[in-house]
Amino acid sequence: MFIVGRILSSLLVIAGSLVLVFAILYVLPGDPTDNMIDPSVATAEQIANLKQQLGVDQPFYIQFTRYISDMVRGDFGNSLLNSEPVLDKILEHFPATLALTAASALVSITIGLVLGVLSAIHRNGPIDFIARLVGLFGISMPTFWSGILLIVLFSLQLGWFPAMGSDGWKTIVLPALTLGIVGAGFIVRMVRSSMLDIIDEHFMLTLRSKGLSERAVMYKHALRNALIPAVTMIGMLIGEMLAGTVVIETVFSRQGIGRIIGDALMAKDLPVVQGVIFITAVIYVLVNLLVDLSYSVIDPRVRRSA
């Protein structure tokens, strides 16, 4: 019941996001031929011909119904720029983005948890302060800048990691670090505050009254409880990271859907934009579904009510 309802409403949301993006791109000025043909060379007639050939001169509802009816049949259409099937394009780029997102999430969670817990345990002490400051730095720097700084330092100067590309684990280190630091900043904040909430709970007193060591009290009990709100955060973070790839994949010259959607948006290559939005919406919905389901694993309270 719960799952079925969620899936239905998710489908609604995904369909809605497709309509919305399509509508936005349709309403906004410009069309794909802007980048395809040089107006100082081509005549107006040639441009009009090209538009007609691409079908971008059709009214909204025709374009959209055509798109949706194709999609329902599993055809996501072809890129207007080079006719590449959108599905192929996404499948080609997706693994790299997935790897980057996963690696960044790993970086975020690791750094975030360690700093967040340290910070909560040493509440108001110097360690707390440093951990929070590090976390804040993570969310205060423009990612493209920190990315370039990392490239200059670790790739161009020290030569530890490659500055570009998307094959091999070495290429993922720097971009994952850049993106991960941002997420870490949010997680530090979240974990710290939920840890502090937990530390004030009554049961902490029970645990101590049982003679448990502080280590057991903090890491076994408090952290486990504090993880629950942090997991929601991770769901949201995956969305943020997918968005972050638009910038990061460009900075690090990586393949990925962030890159293609950035290009496609600028070029108004609608089928590609729609395809990527569809995929990201599906991922976003899936991740949040997973987050909800994972609650029942870590939080017995949810298991019952669900």
Binding site: M1, F2, V4, E201, H202, F203, M204, L205, T206, L207, R208, S209, K210, G211, L212, S213, A216, H221, R224, N225, I228, I298, D299, P300, R301, R304
Partner: protein
């Protein structure tokens, strides 16, 4: 005999923003092996701090022992290093806390948490520890212990959790069990069960118990000796019998008198200690109790009296003799039943005179069903039957009391009457007018006539509004008053509820709990309504303050001709204030009766057992009589037939099958039972 625990001249301070705050000062008392000592006092008296200090749990709350010693069998806990403290905690001294729901880690099973405790202190295998956990749960009366071990805290009821908590505390056979208000969060029926369990366990295991409570009834039932605390100091201590018979400190005396005895005369003022407990940051000079003390003299204002001790009993008062000389007003020496009967003679007339008066509120076949989220499309739609076919009426100028355990639907019923919630079906007639069909705008003018006082005096006031604005809000929304008139009216109202009229510009957080409840009352009476719903209006308050508010409510009823629906789970208070009482169980009204008759001769077994669960402030009267077994079932899936049958000692086959209707039992009495007790 050597004391198990000997506390000498103990002082505890807390580091706060405003410097070190001394929470308890110079207290000394001891606990003998096998003895039960009760620490009694209102909130803020320092009794919980004392209990935490014994286990040095204050270390985690910025607290520290600034002076004195806590000697447990020859070792001073006050100076013990952390590592040794941990060996002691849970092993030799164990603790049970007030709110069982919050005292367990919600993400581990009961079993995991018990096993964790055992394995912390003893070299046993996990398997052995688990088996011992099952034994323990079974010992504390938890059915199906092996299954409970695997359940999470949230899956158990409060009563069960408190049993499990006790099991966990006993897992390493401690010499001293500290129980901090172990039953305060529980229903009175469950409270009786838990207290009984503690008594049995103590006899069986021979441990000492330090029981912390604000309820003198519990202290009387449990304690060998009682220590009374006030504002971080011990004001009196002595054996239970001695203390109840001859309280020597005015505070002890006041506390005892604040409890409405079951034989009090309705409409009579309760004894109330004036004022409220001072904040630690602003303690008065001299005897700390003097601002509230009727015996206070100049000396009390200047000089703090020492605790004069002899053979384990003592008192800190300059006027000990004068206090002791005055006899406690109501004697608690006799059993309830007898006393009630004696007193009833005078009161029945009064009840009869009100009987025929006009009916103000009438409920006809009220139902309130909340839908439960279905697990699948095919599953049948289920409902929580919060109120299930309830009919009754409230007469003008009377106080109708509504009692029942939590989950009985009494608050829901109250809200439906006032149309703050929509009934699923049924009618509510107010002064003959059906309210159920009215929409919001139609209802609003009618609200002038019916107001509410809420349980939570903190939550019922908008924290961003001055109390003057809050009180004036009903005046404002009903128009008709100019700003000036409103101001005058607010001052008038403040005066009426016993607050300084000039305090209307202050914010809620500047007031104590009792004062806030007075503000709530002022707001409720602002429009001179004819009816007031008092929903657990005094439940959250300390005993002494509770008495003040009850007095105020009664006073206002007389002055303003109010009708009350008084909802509470504290039976004594309800009895004291109500003309008639309705008893609810699982969404059903099981009995309605004039309050004295109800107490004298309950017709429904549930009512009877409910009354018997109340601990009486009469020491030595360990109630061994039958009390209600088990717990209130879920209203989503109530038992068949009579809903009370699974817990009823008199239940028969018929009760299991046939649902009893509420039927008249003589004059002005109704009960829903196949085998009424009268």
């Amino acid at each position: 005999m050597e004391a198990l625990l000997d506390i000498q001249e103990l002082s505890v301070g807390f580091r706060t923003k405003n410097g070190l705050l001394e929470a308890i000062t110079n207290i000394s008392f001891s606990i003998q092996p096998g003895e039960t000592v009760c620490l009694v006092g209102e909130s803020g008296s320092g009794k919980t701090v004392t209990s935490k200090a014994i286990m040095r749990l204050i270390d985690y709350e910025n607290g520290s022992i600034t002076r004195g010693s806590i000697v447990l069998r020859g070792r001073d806990i006050a100076t013990l290093p952390e590592a040794e403290l941990r060996q002691l905690r849970g092993k030799r001294v164990a603790m049970v806390f007030q709110e069982p729901m919050a005292a367990f880690d919600p993400v581990f099973t009961i079993g995991q948490q018990i096993v964790e405790t055992i394995m912390q202190h003893e070299r046993v295998s996990r398997r052995e520890a688990w088996d011992r956990g099952i034994e323990l749960l079974s010992r504390v009366g938890i059915p199906e212990p092996a299954i409970r071990m695997k359940q999470y805290p949230g899956e158990l009821s409060g009563g069960m959790l408190q049993r499990a908590m006790i099991a966990m505390a006993l897992s390493c056979s401690p010499e001293l069990l500290i129980a901090d208000e172990p039953t305060t969060a529980l229903d009175v029926t469950i409270q009786a069960q838990i207290l009984k369990l503690l008594q049995e366990l103590q006899q069986e295991l021979g441990m000492s118990i330090l029981l912390i409570t604000h309820d003198l009834g519990i202290a009387a039932e449990m304690a060998d000796r009682i220590v009374v605390m006030y504002a971080g100091r011990i004001v009196e201590q002595g054996t239970a019998a001695e203390l109840f018979a001859r309280p020597r400190h005015p505070y002890t005396r006041g506390l005892l008198q604040s409890i409405p005895p079951l034989d009090s005369v309705r409409g009579e003022r309760l004894y109330a200690i004036q004022g409220s407990i001072p904040s630690l940051a602003a303690l008065p000079v001299g005897c700390l109790f003097h601002p509230r003390c009727e015996y206070a003299t100049e000396r009390c204002k200047e000089e703090a009296p020492p605790l004069v001790e002899s053979s384990g009993s003592g008192v800190a008062c300059w006027h000990e003799e004068r206090v002791a000389a005055a006899v406690v007003k109501a004697s608690h020496s006799n059993s309830i039943r007898v006393r009630v009967e004696e007193l009833l003679e005078g009161n029945s007339v009064d009840a009869a005179s009100r009987k025929d008066s006009e009916i103000l509120f009438e409920a006809e076949h009220l139902h309130k069903y909340y839908p439960v989220k279905r697990k699948s499309f095919t599953a049948p739609r289920t409902f929580i039957r919060a109120v299930d076919d309830v009919s009754f009426s409230i007469r003008r100028n009377e106080t109708f009391g509504l009692v029942g355990e939590s989950g009985s639907g009494k608050s829901t019923l109250g809200r439906i009457l006032l149309q703050m919630e929509q009934a699923t079906s049924g009618k509510v007639l107010f002064q003959g007018k059906d309210l159920t069909g009215l929409n919001g705008p139609q209802l609003r003018p009618l609200r002038r006539d019916m107001q509410v006082i809420f349980q939570d005096p903190y939550g019922s006031l908008n924290p961003r509004w001055t109390i003057g604005d809050s009180i004036a809000e009903p005046l404002k929304v009903h128009g008709e008053w100019s700003a000036n008139e409103r101001r005058t009216r607010v001052e008038e109202l403040l005066q009426l509820v016993g607050l300084d009229p000039s305090s209307s510009g202050k914010y809620p957080h500047e007031f104590s709990g009792g004062q806030r409840q007075r503000i709530g009352i002022a707001r409720a009476i602002a429009l001179s309504p004819s009816f007031i719903l008092a929903d657990e209006a005094v439940s959250a308050l300390d005993v002494s303050v509770q008495a003040q508010i009850v007095n105020l409510l009664q006073e206002l009823q007389q002055k303003l001709g109010l009708t009350y629906l008084f909802i509470a789970h504290g039976l004594q208070i309800v009895r004291h204030i109500s003309d008639r009482i309705g008893v609810m169980y699982l969404g059903k009204l099981v009995e309605i009766a004039p309050s004295d008759e109800l107490f004298r001769q309950p017709a429904h077994p549930y009512t009877k057992l409910l009354i018997e669960s109340i601990p009486q402030p009469v020491p030595g009267q360990h109630s061994s009589s039958a009390f209600i077994q088990g717990e209130i079932p879920s209203p989503a899936n109530p038992p068949s037939g009579c809903r009370f049958h699974p817990r009823c000692p008199f239940a028969t086959e018929r009760c299991r099958k046939e649902q009893p209707e509420l039927r008249p039992l003589g004059e002005d009495r109704f009960a829903a039972c196949h085998y009424t007790l009268i």
